[in-house]
């Protein structure tokens, strides 16, 4: 009994239950539509695990949404709802594309500069949201929604501009090759590299058939750093104090408004980093005309919530999300069921995550009953 109660209180338990419900609801939807859920999930599983390159692609897909999720989770801890991660991602992509195209430096300088410019752009954009809230009291959700659209049109403006538009395309020029953050981009295409890879099938599949890059590593490092900042530093304590009760934080002398702006600067930088890693690490290394949002930021919201706003949790939730998105494509290819079943499934998981307050409550009830029995 004690064990069950303890288990139910762990946050991970609720998350696992939510994920199970996601699969359950997706099965019901598939059954109702006349498809075999077992086959569909088999296809999903194979689409993720059956080849090394699939796994590599899942990680590539997971990297940006993990980073935007860390951005959202961090802001959430600091009491801010960063629905603007989408916009911060977009301006990050613009900045890193422009800087990566305009600069012609050796990689050792070029890569950091390109990434930093993406982060800086995202930070400024996020900071603006924080500033508008701190200075004028404008709800961050409102400014975020507006600025997301401004970012989208700004991106399209840059794509169409004379200086950056690549003729006969719907995109800008790509960044210089010295900005690339793929794993061993030059070696893997050299004679020596190709000769080596011919003997190592596994590696060659990952290196040659996917854009394996440092994006996911960046996401893991960022998540760890944010965890450290939040839970092992004075500054992080201030952020969390403002997040959990800003009146109390203010009374105890914490500068609430300054913390708001700083938190949004950091959150924006994380979303900008997500974009910079995508631009430098994956084809086509440039921005294209956006007809609608690409959801890199919005997916981060879902991932952050699945992770219970824990920065470390975002890594695993990001992988799960990336796996579902990537593997989900094979459901349509192999079973014929609409891919959107994955969206329904992810939505259901998030929905049940929202409901997880019941699980600890259930634990309390179990415990009380246990005590009564003991008496």
């Amino acid at each position: 009994m004690q064990k069950t109660v303890k288990l139910l209180r762990k946050p991970i338990t609720s998350t696992v239950i939510a994920i199970l419900f996601g699969f359950l609801v997706a099965s019901v939807v598939l059954l109702a539509a006349g498809y075999n859920p077992a086959e569909a999930f088999g296809a999903l599983f194979n689409g993720v695990f059956s080849k090394p390159k699939y796994l590599s692609n899942v990680m590539i897909k997971a990297a940006p949404i993990t980073l935007t999720a860390v951005s959202v989770a961090f802001a959430y801890r600091a009491g801010l709802f960063n629905i603007g991660a989408e916009g911060q991602y977009i301006v990050g992509a613009i900045a890193s594309t422009l800087v990566g195209y305009l600069l012609h430096l050796p990689a050792i300088l070029q890569v950091p500069l390109v990434i930093l410019s993406g982060m800086a752009a995202g930070a400024l954009y996020g900071g603006l949201i924080g500033l508008l809230k701190a200075r004028f009291g404008i709800h961050e959700v409102l400014t975020s929604i507006m600025l997301n659209w401004v970012a989208l049109y700004l991106s399209n403006f840059v794509v169409q501009s004379k200086t950056f538009h690549q003729p006969n395309s719907t995109a800008t020029y790509p960044v210089q090759q010295s900005s690339y953050t793929m794993l061993l981009p030059n070696w893997k295409l050299s004679d020596e590299g190709l000769a080596f890879l011919r003997q190592h099938k596994w590696l060659s599949e990952i290196l040659l058939k996917t854009d394996v890059n440092f994006g996911f590593l960046a996401a893991v490092v960022a998540a760890l750093l944010i965890w450290f900042l939040l839970y092992r530093s004075v500054k992080g304590f201030e952020f969390r104090a403002v997040g959990s009760n800003h009146a109390a934080a203010e009374l105890s002398g914490i500068p609430v408004k300054r913390n708001m702006v700083q938190a949004m600067l950091i959150a924006g930088a994380l979303s900008g980093l997500a974009a910079a890693m995508v631009i430098t690490g994956t084809n086509p290394h440039r921005i294209s005309t956006l007809a609608a949002f690409e959801n890199n930021g919005f997916n981060g919201l879902s991932v952050a919530f699945i992770a219970g706003s824990s920065p470390i949790g975002c890594i695993f939730a990001g992988l799960l999300f990336g796996g579902l998105l990537y593997g989900g494509q094979s459901i349509q290819a192999e079973v014929g069921a609409p891919t959107e079943v994955i969206n329904i499934m992810i939505g259901t998981i998030v929905f049940f995550v929202a409901l997880t307050r019941i699980v600890p409550a259930l634990a309390d009830r179990l415990e009380r009953r246990g005590i009564r029995h003991a008496e």
């Binding site: 404008i138 959700v141 409102l142 879902s302 994955i342 992810i346 307050r357």
Partner: protein
């Protein structure tokens, strides 16, 4: 001149109608103390249900009803989560934004040969002046019937909230549920009704896109209107008339971009397209300022908890 003016008015009204329904949905839900971030998802499912039923039944009014029902059904999920299970309303709303479009596209593929868009409906919702308008000015202001319907919806909601016993109860539940409870108001019931109504309105909003503005559902028919409606709720300080005004302003800024976009202004169209959003922020900075949400907005009500 008269032609241009009427065109501007016509486009403004056309763009704002779907937003108004969505925003009114947001107002009623949040007035009762339940944050509804799922408006976008409810509008999408409504947009699909409206277009699909409108296509198969050949009756746009049936489509509109179906849209309301679909939106209301989604909202019921939100109500169960946030009222009965005290769920985190922000997260639950975001979940609906994933489930709504997912479900809409999934069902769409099943009923429309694997396509993510429906066939165009045979009959759209009628225009206020009927079909045969040959004068360009009357043609311009011959808006969809959803435009006056949106106005009526706003007036009714305003009347209910400010002039009736019912409205007072909704205010009480949203501002101080514990006090409302001691006065004998059924907090949970009130919240259920308001959340479901909010979904029905959002569904209408979706359908006023796919049964009036365009004649079919497409994956991008609803792309962001729900969020803009949400912004209009905050902008309009959680009041029906405020939100209505905010949506009109938004529609006007959109109309201005369409109007100026036809080569009439020496500004790139992408920059013009940013205008509505920048204008909104500017207006907020200059005039509106601090937002005042209902006090218990987003707080689950638990009996006996202070």
């Amino acid at each position: 001149m008269l032609n241009d003016l009427s065109l501007l008015i016509g486009i403004t009204l056309m763009y704002s109608a779907p937003l108004i329904f969505g925003a009114l949905g947001g107002v009623i839900s949040e007035r009762a103390g339940v944050i509804n971030l799922g408006i976008e998802g409810m509008m999408t499912i409504g947009a699909f249900a409206g277009a699909a039923v409108g296509f198969y039944s050949q009756n746009p009014w049936l489509g509109l009803l179906a849209a309301g029902a679909a939106g209301g059904g989604m909202a019921l999920l939100h109500a169960v989560a946030s009222v009965t299970f005290h769920a985190d309303q922000t997260i639950s709303g975001i979940a609906l934004n994933l489930i709504g479009p997912g479900l809409a596209l999934f069902i769409c593929r099943l009923y429309f040969d694997g396509a993510t868009m429906t066939q165009p409906v045979a009959h759209k919702l009628p225009k206020i002046l009927g079909d045969n308008q040959f004068n360009s000015v009357t043609q311009n202001i011959n808006v969809d019937v959803t435009v006056p319907l949106a106005l009526v919806a706003m007036l009714i909601l305003w009347f209910v909230l400010y002039k009736t016993k019912w409205g007072l109860r909704i205010w009480a539940v949203g501002e101080h549920p514990a006090a409302a409870d001691t006065m004998g108001i059924h907090v949970r019931g009130t919240r259920y009704i308001c959340v479901i109504l909010s979904g029905i309105l959002a569904g209408f909003g979706g359908a006023s896109m796919t049964l009036a503005v365009i004649p079919q559902f497409t994956p991008v028919a609803i792309s962001g209107q729900g969020f803009i409606a949400l912004a209009a709720v905050i902008f309009g300080k959680w009041t029906p008339h405020g939100a209505y005004g905010a949506c009109l302003l938004f529609g006007f800024a959109q109309a201005l971009t369409v109007f100026l976009g036809g080569g009439k202004a020496p500004v790139p169209s992408e920059i013009l397209a940013m205008l509505p959003y920048l204008l909104t922020i500017l207006v907020l900075v200059l005039f509106v300022g601090r937002s005042a949400a209902p006090k218990a907005d987003g707080e689950p009500y638990e009996k006996g908890v202070r």
